[in-house]
């Protein structure tokens, strides 16, 4: 059940430049979280009042451990990176509606960009069948081994060519000519839009995890909306990323501009 917890940080490591992995002893969330869900992390500093939404990267149900992987991009994530093993942190979760898993699907295609990769790890753990993961990064890849440990065949692209394919993840993916029964995407909006377009062209269903600035994270403030088509109507409506999503069917999303 989603609730406020004050777990202890049992590990905090830098896994790439500006990217950290934080492990929390939080049995309740670890036991119930589903792939694609997120948690609200609260800052300690007085002037930062809104929680930061961070995806659940991995859970260990037996040991009750929750792993979060985040990039330092501003004051809030910077303050998380200064926390040490043994410190406690205020967490609300698990939140949101994650990826839908269809057991009848044999081949799964995961596409992740940068800090959108973390939720794909927990997803891979829950999927049965063949898993292909295409990951794009600006420079250093993260979480490749974790994905492989859950049976995913991983392909990496980097902007500077320092690891894997030089270029973006969509080009890499198209080059490989791999197809499957379901696509799962998480990353920057242009990438998600391209994933949706490709899925539509190929006639494959795609689930994408959307990101929007949030305040409450629990469906109250109506601050985090994206445009979603109404069923059997021309019209659209603003749906909340925090509770109606973050995962949506790509065919339903209307992209701005």
């Amino acid at each position: 059940m989603k609730k406020l917890y004050y777990p202890i940080i049992i590990e905090q490591n830098q896994i790439a430049r500006g990217t950290f992995s934080m492990k929390l002893q939080c049995n309740e969330i670890a036991e119930t979280a589903l792939p694609g869900q997120f948690v609200n992390l609260y800052c300690r500093e007085g002037e930062m009042l809104l929680p930061r939404p961070i995806s659940i990267c991995e859970t260990d149900r037996e040991k009750g451990i929750l792993t979060l992987v985040y990039a330092v991009v501003g004051k809030g994530t910077e303050s998380f990176s200064r926390l040490k093993k043994g410190d406690t942190i205020k967490v609300l979760g698990p939140l949101g509606d994650g990826f839908k898993i269809d057991e009848s699907i044999k081949t799964h295609i995961l596409i992740g960009g940068g800090i959108g990769v973390p939720p794909l790890v927990e997803l891979a753990k829950h999927l049965k069948g063949e898993i292909y993961a295409f990951l794009g990064f600006a420079e250093s890849p993260i979480l490749v081994e974790e994905l492989e440990s859950y049976g995913a065949k991983v392909f990496v692209a980097t902007d500077d060519g320092s690891a894997g394919f030089k270029g973006n993840v969509i080009e890499l993916f198209k080059n490989k000519n791999i197809t499957g029964g379901m696509i799962y995407g998480c990353g920057p909006k242009p990438m998600l839009k391209a994933v949706g377009k490709w899925a539509e062209d190929m006639g494959i269903k795609a689930q994408i995890s959307m990101e929007e600035r949030m305040a409450c994270g629990i469906g109250v403030c109506v601050g985090c909306v994206c445009k979603i088509k109404k069923k059997e109507e021309e019209d659209w409506q603003n749906r909340k990323v925090c509770t109606d999503g973050p995962v949506f069917w790509s065919e339903e999303v209307i992209w701005d501009e």
Partner: protein, 304 residues
């Protein structure tokens, strides 16, 4: 020592305590009922309701700022019919008062909502003439004396429940607006709504909000709110619901000392889902510590 009497009376409606939720920050209570006992609240003010569904503004709608946040939700809501069907029936299961915040683009739209609510089981109407995101004829109702009085009068005629008018702080003279709505028939006043603000991402050199400007709330606005409650309380005789950056019981007491009878908790709900109950406990602790028997005593105890 005896437990202090927390009860307050606003326009003939008895609230078991002065803690109310600020419109738009508590949905219709459903989400927070997972964290707190709604029966413990004095009243719940629901998010702004219009006559037909409103889509609101584009995203991003939220920007955190120092000690506060900007929002440009633009009053997205599913309309009064959906409110009555889904939210009201839920709220009626609880022993707390229900205040419905109503919004509109024209006088007629406001009146249609009040009319539709007239035969429902709600306790009070809060007229939101202060949303910075919606305007009529270039002037929002809350910043023009004549418009403020006219809309209050029109809604007061239509409404069957006591009418609270919620004021905008985006004016030079809050007292004259307060007097105008009291002249128009307001039974109570709530203040403040959000202060118009703006934030820019210096790296992309773009405004953070898609709407460019939005309403500022949170502790950053509290001194402005306290000053306005203080000025309005001296000038009018109707009860006041004070809000703007209340995070703790101490903050709420500050509003009461400035002249507020009720207090509303807004953005604090996002920082802390149990904020309303923490504020309630904080007020009670303060009363016990300082020997106050009831809220009215606090209200009259400011030393100048």
């Amino acid at each position: 020592m005896n437990k202090p009497d927390m009860q307050i009376n606003i326009a003939g409606v008895e609230l078991k305590n002065p803690v109310i939720t600020a419109s738009g920050t508590f949905g219709s209570g459903k989400e927070y009922s997972e964290y707190i006992d709604l029966n413990k609240l004095g009243a719940i003010t629901v998010k702004g309701v219009s006559d037909i569904p409103w889509k609101g503004n584009d995203s991003p709608r939220i920007a955190e700022t120092y000690g506060g946040m900007l929002n440009s939700v633009g009053l997205q809501n599913p309309g009064v019919e959906a409110f009555i069907e889904e939210d009201l029936s839920f709220l009626k299961r609880y022993d707390t008062k229900i205040i419905v915040n109503i919004v509109g683009r024209t006088v007629e739209e406001y009146c249609r909502v009040a009319e539709r609510l007239s035969d429902t089981d709600i306790d009070m109407i809060e007229l939101n003439i202060s949303c910075p995101n919606v305007k009529e004829g270039g002037v929002s109702f809350g910043t023009d004396l004549l418009m403020a009085e006219r809309i209050t009068e029109a809604v007061k005629k239509t409404a069957k429940q006591p009418l609270i008018v919620k004021l905008s702080p985006n004016v030079t003279d809050i007292v004259s607006i307060a007097k105008a709505v009291v002249a128009g028939g307001a039974d109570a006043i709530s203040l403040i709504n959000t202060l118009l603000g703006m934030a820019i991402d210096i790296n992309t050199r773009k405004p953070i909000l898609a709407n460019i400007v939005g309403g500022l709330s949170g502790p950053a606005i509290r001194p402005v709110a306290i000053r306005m409650v203080y000025e309005v309380a001296k000038a009018v005789d109707v009860p006041i619901i004070g809000m703007g950056g209340i995070m703790t019981g101490e903050d709420a007491v500050e509003f009461m000392l400035a002249g507020a009878t009720g207090v509303a908790v807004g953005m604090a709900n996002f920082t802390n889902p149990t904020a309303t109950i923490d504020v309630l406990n904080g007020i009670e602790d303060y009363m016990i510590r300082h020997g106050f028997n009831n809220i009215e005593e606090i209200r009259k105890s400011l030393i100048l």
